[in-house]
Symmetry: C2
Subunit: 138 residues, 2 copies
DNA sequence: TATTAAATGCAATTTATTTGCAAATACTTG
DNA sequence: CAAGTATTTGCAAATAAATTGCATTTAATA
């Protein structure tokens, strides 16, 4: 995703291409890992009210532009979802380092498991995190 | 797990077999599904302070007697972990109904994926939830 | 039964997130 | 390109989830 393209992306999704939202998307692209609201706010050059940030994150997640994940700390993490393939997270339980991972055969197994999932008629999404110790912490 | 056995269980784990903790374990056994702190508190015959409940839940989870899970609502859920086989959850995004599920081949895939997990030295646990619509809501 | 460390309850605090509303601003259309 | 309008933003305040400190109670054990 090129820098200027966020304007188009936002507008196509029905949002206004405000400096705040563009800065948010650019930051998340640059960081390329799940960030908490506090981290985002700290790193954003253009300062935004916390409430505005929450509202933007919520709306953009709803529009599938962002992806939200719970990483076992009591607060949500957000990352860019467009332009990234489906993935999950490895979380270091010591230093909280987060790493992406994906595994095709795991996805296959997940899809199958979802089909077998007894009484449920449809499975629309899933969340999966692996917890362990990263190279530095072990 | 028979009723009276919780006393022994607690003591073996280094806890005191207090009426509060025993009542908590008995309730979770009876309910047999992930409950929120508020739900537990409401259903407990013997009323307990919220703080006490939080502390018990935390300690018992630490001791692997309980299992905590995030089900995509902004608060933790707890269920008995002893005497239950490893499982995950199906969550209805409409009515919040929760159902257990487990799938051996999925576990195999998860273990393999964990091994391949690049830089991480060890994977100790994982969390997996499937979200969809239950039979009634679809 | 007395001792003591663990568990409890209360008050208050922290952290995460949400709501209401008025002011500011991006996009449309003339 | 100026005006109108609906969206977005910021501020203040509220709500929700979880935690901390401390004094009191209580289960275990000697």
């Amino acid at each position: 995703m090129q820098k200027g393209e966020y304007k188009t992306l936002l507008q196509k999704a029905g949002f206004r291409a405000t400096p705040g939202k563009i800065a948010l998307l650019e930051l998340l692209q640059k960081e390329d890992k799940p960030l908490t609201v506090a981290e985002i706010q700290k790193k954003l050059k253009r300062k935004q009210d916390t409430v505005t940030l929450y509202r933007s994150l919520e709306a953009l997640t709803e529009a599938n532009i962002l992806m939200r994940s719970e990483l076992g700390h009591g607060h949500a993490h957000y990352e860019l979802s467009i332009g990234k393939k489906h993935h999950h997270h490895l979380v270091c339980t010591n230093c909280e380092k987060v790493e992406d991972f994906s595994d095709p055969s795991l996805e296959t197994a997940l899809t199958k498991a979802a089909k077998n999932a007894s009484s449920f008629k449809s499975i629309n999404s899933h969340s999966l995190e692996l917890f362990g110790l990263c190279a530095r912490c072990s």
